[in-house]
Subunit: 218 residues, 2 copies
């Protein structure tokens, strides 16, 4: 199995640790739109992404969302295993944004490995630190960037991820990513359209002036 | 020395690790207002707080602040040691809010300990997870709580920390804690005053109706 290739610290583990992981890790295939993990009551175990794209987001008590970050091929996700880390006391939701394939390591085995291996413990450390860094970046954006800049940056990122200037995404969905209301997104997109940066059609946003959008985002 | 009493994982360390820590940890005493750590270029090493109060905050490129969390007696601070954790790629500033006394562990020794001891590595993990949780709580507040609720909660927290209903704090300073402009704070405090919840005097905010403020904060 090629799990070994995808798990970054494989080479630093002992034979016994490698064996336990190899016999434990199970392949999970999910369709785009599947919710893989929902809040801290779930404790699936860490995920190692083989292909696809996951979105990690939080939800307010009124049902408003904000995307924290995304996970791609070769990323490891620890937040699907919150029971292993009792000091992570916030709930995230993990959803497949594309058809995805991943390995699931059982929470129980990962906990054992974290307790016996300094390599695994420090790897967990490194993962949490990286996610913390992404969230701090997002917080700076929310606090200090105006919404037009954030939206411009979001459209450019989406376009790069999907490798197309025509984004098939609703205003509602964009609002969910950005933690705001649909009306706010619609208003700003109409302004972008009047400035010639995008063209709005039913269910899609087409980027028509990438250069101008980029200048705004900076 | 009583470092052993204040360092939560002391009892789980080996004799050699205890000895190295005991001979390495140095007492640092600072006056209120002292900046102890400023961004990731600094790498003092972890701090174990013996007494006092530290504030950890971030700063925008335009000089606006927001308080992330505070540290008190018996807390351990890792962000003063960012060089030990290369995946923490954001800059925080750590400032004494009261006269404070702490031990500094050298970054170099702590790095060694993290690499050799699963106990230390998991302790670092636990600390980062706790701070991450505090920041996620703050993000939820910023995104989804109206400013009046946040300000009410801030005044109540300050009053509890200082153990007095009369907060000697400027509107400017409150704005720095909350990541907003002074004018916004002044406007809201005047509204609180008109509702009888606080009384504003030169350089101070007095809480006059704690009950009402608490209801608002909830």
């Amino acid at each position: 199995m090629d799990f070994a290739e995808y798990f970054p610290i494989w080479g630093k583990l002992t034979d016994s640790q490698q064996q336990r992981l190899a016999s434990n890790a199970e392949v999970l295939r999910v369709k785009s739109g599947t919710v893989i993990h929902n809040g801290s009551m779930d404790c699936l175990g860490p995920l190692v992404i083989r292909s696809g794209q996951l979105r990690v987001y939080i939800l307010s008590s009124e049902g408003r969302e904000i995307t924290l970050y995304r996970l791609f091929e070769r990323d490891t996700c620890l937040f699907s295993s919150s029971c292993v880390m009792p000091d992570i006391q916030f709930d995230v939701i993990i959803e497949a944004e594309k058809d995805s394939e991943m390995w699931v390591i059982s929470a129980c085995l990962f906990k054992q490995l974290m307790e016996e291996s300094v390599v695994v413990a420090n790897y967990a450390n490194q993962l949490i630190s990286s996610r913390f860094t992404e969230v701090m970046w997002l917080m700076g954006q929310i606090m200090w960037q105006s919404f037009d800049k954030r939206l411009a940056a979001f459209l450019l990122e989406e376009s790069a991820l999907e490798n197309t200037p025509v984004l098939k995404i609703t205003h509602e969905k964009i609002a969910g990513h950005m933690g705001t209301a649909r009306e706010v997104v619609t208003r700003m997109l109409r302004y972008f359209q009047s400035e010639g940066m995008v063209k709005l059609t039913r269910g899609a946003v087409e980027i028509t002036d990438r250069q101008k959008l980029r200048q705004l985002a900076q």
